[in-house]
Structure formats: structure tokens, C-alpha cells
């Protein structure tokens, strides 16, 4: 069994060696280099346009973020001085030193004094 295994191993090695000889390196075609540079250039232009698109997107995103930041800060500052509620507006219009409840007028009858 082992000797058969061994002979199979040897046969397989021989087959691999024969395969290497049976598959020599093919000659490159005349178009190998022009086609290669064409592929490089087309991938380069794709990468370039992708980079440009990505850059434009990043710039737009930054501008939008700044715009939103400014808007939120303006909104925030106006929220810090909250708009008056109805009651506050009413209190402001009628301060305590100008009482809105007027004391009852005492009417003195001139005839009684006499």
C-alpha cells in the first residue's frame, strides 16, 4: 500500500514537471503594452473623476455643515432670550407701581357735613 502511495507520489511529481513543460510562457502579443497603458489610463481617469466627485461632495458637505451651524447658533441665541409669554407681556404692561386696582372712591356728601 505504502509503495503504491510512494509510486503515486512520484508519478504526481512527474506529472507536475510535465505540466510545467507542457505550459510554456506564451509570447506577449504586439498589443500587450498599448492595451496595458489604455487600461491604466482609463482606470486613472475613472479614479480622477471619482476623486473630483468625492472632493465636490466633501466641499458641499462642509459648506452645508457651516451653514447649518450658523443657523443653529442664531436660532440658539434667540432661544436664550425667550420670547415673552402672554402673562409676562401683561405684567410688563402693568407694573406693580401702577396698581391696576383703584381704591373705591369715597364720596363725601356736602350736605352731611353741614
Amino acid at each position: 500500500m505504502n509503495s503504491m502511495r510512494g509510486s503515486d507520489e512520484e508519478k504526481l511529481d512527474a506529472l507536475f514537471r510535465a505540466y510545467a513543460r507542457a505550459c510554456p510562457a506564451p509570447e506577449p502579443s504586439a498589443n500587450f503594452m498599448p492595451n496595458l497603458w489604455q487600461r491604466i489610463e482609463s482606470r486613472q481617469s475613472f479614479t480622477f473623476s471619482f476623486h473630483r466627485m468625492a472632493n465636490a461632495f466633501v466641499t458641499a458637505a462642509v459648506a452645508l455643515s457651516i451653514g447649518l451651524g450658523v443657523y443653529i447658533s442664531i436660532l440658539g441665541s434667540s432661544l436664550n432670550s425667550p420670547s415673552q409669554t402672554y402673562l409676562e407681556a401683561l405684567a410688563e404692561a402693568n407694573p406693580l407701581d401702577t396698581p391696576d386696582i383703584v381704591a373705591p372712591v369715597s364720596l363725601e356728601m356736602p350736605d352731611q357735613a353741614r
Partner: protein, 195 residues
């Protein structure tokens, strides 16, 4: 090394002429490796070009020129693996599946035009391709690099960035599977002969 380190450094600095020289120096070797890794000869040039395109765009990631060859091997393996994964074609060689060159060969054999050497080479190719159908694409490539391309374990370690022991185990298992298929094919052929 087929080129000097200085040429690689120049190519890394976007020197097109240097890159051209590197391609001219290595293209035959890469074409040979790919020819043995994939089963369709008419796609060999296409895959080899893909290797060099990947090389062009990844040269800046190469830390030292000294590891250029393992790097190129790695790119070759990856490109061949991607191709094989796309193909998912295995050892069934029906006429409809045969590649252009194989059809020409088959026609020539049928017409009695091909000489014995060509027939023999075709037979060897087919039997090895068929045997390697017993293992995954990744193991097929690993076995090819070791057994056919003659890369040492040290070189494979650099290509795969895996330690030697892990590679040994993987190679052993893949080889055992191929041996099993080889034994079964031998048995089948002997039985056929007897009957």
C-alpha cells in the same frame, strides 16, 4: 531579480518609462505563471494586464524595493484567484466549454493534423486541470506555485504572509486530495483497460 532596485524606486515616483521597463522585464514570467494557473489560454494576456494595472496603482504601497518580487507574485495570485472565482469552471471539458485554442486543437486532432507532441501536451494539461479540480481555487493556486512554479516555502511565506507551518499543513492537505483523485483516476483507467 530581473530589474534593479533603482528602477523600482523610479517607478514608485511615477516614472512611466521605469514602469514600462519593469513590465517588459517581467511580462513573460507573469504570462507563464498565469498560463499555468488558469485554464483558458486566450484569457492569459487579459489577466496578466490586470496584474500590471494593479501593480501600477499599488506601487506606492510597496515599502521597500527588496520585496518587489513577492509583491508581484501576490498580485498575480490575487488576479488569477479573482479570475478563477469568476469563471467557476471545473474539470468538465465538454465541447461547448472548450476555449478557443482548445477547440482549434481538438479540430486539429480530429483531422489528424496535430503532431504527437501537441496531443501529449494537451493530454497533460487536461489531466492536471482535472486533478486540480479536486481542490479549491485557492489551493489549486498554492499547489501550482509550489509544485509547478517551484517556489520555495520561504518564498510562499512572503507571498501569502502566512507562517511556514500553516502553509505546510495546507499544502499537505491539498496534495493529499490531489493524490486521492490521482489514485482514483489511475484505478479507473486500469479497470477500463481490463474490460
Amino acid at each position: 531579480m530581473l530589474v534593479d532596485f533603482e528602477l523600482i524606486r523610479r517607478a514608485q515616483k511615477n516614472d512611466s518609462a521605469a514602469f514600462n521597463e519593469i513590465v517588459l522585464a517581467y511580462r513573460k514570467r507573469i504570462l507563464g505563471t498565469i498560463n499555468r494557473l488558469i485554464t483558458r489560454p486566450e484569457d492569459v494576456e487579459d489577466v496578466a494586464q490586470e496584474v500590471f494595472v494593479r501593480l501600477y496603482f499599488s506601487l506606492d504601497q510597496l515599502r521597500t524595493a527588496e520585496v518587489f518580487e513577492p509583491w508581484l507574485h501576490r498580485l498575480t495570485v490575487n488576479a488569477a484567484y479573482d479570475y478563477l472565482r469568476k469563471q467557476r469552471r471545473r474539470h468538465e471539458y465538454r465541447m461547448s466549454d472548450l476555449s478557443e485554442q482548445q477547440v482549434i486543437l481538438a479540430d486539429a486532432v480530429a483531422g489528424g493534423k496535430a503532431d504527437q507532441d501537441v496531443q501529449q501536451q494537451k493530454k497533460i494539461r487536461e489531466s492536471v486541470d482535472s486533478l486540480l479540480g479536486a481542490v479549491s481555487e485557492a489551493d489549486r493556486i498554492l499547489l501550482m506555485l509550489k509544485e509547478v512554479e517551484g517556489l520555495s516555502l520561504k518564498e510562499l511565506e512572503k507571498v501569502y504572509k502566512v507562517n511556514e507551518n500553516a502553509l505546510k499543513v495546507r499544502l499537505f492537505r491539498a496534495r493529499q486530495r490531489v493524490l486521492k483523485a490521482f489514485g482514483a483516476a489511475g484505478k479507473g483507467a486500469a479497470e477500463k483497460k481490463e474490460s
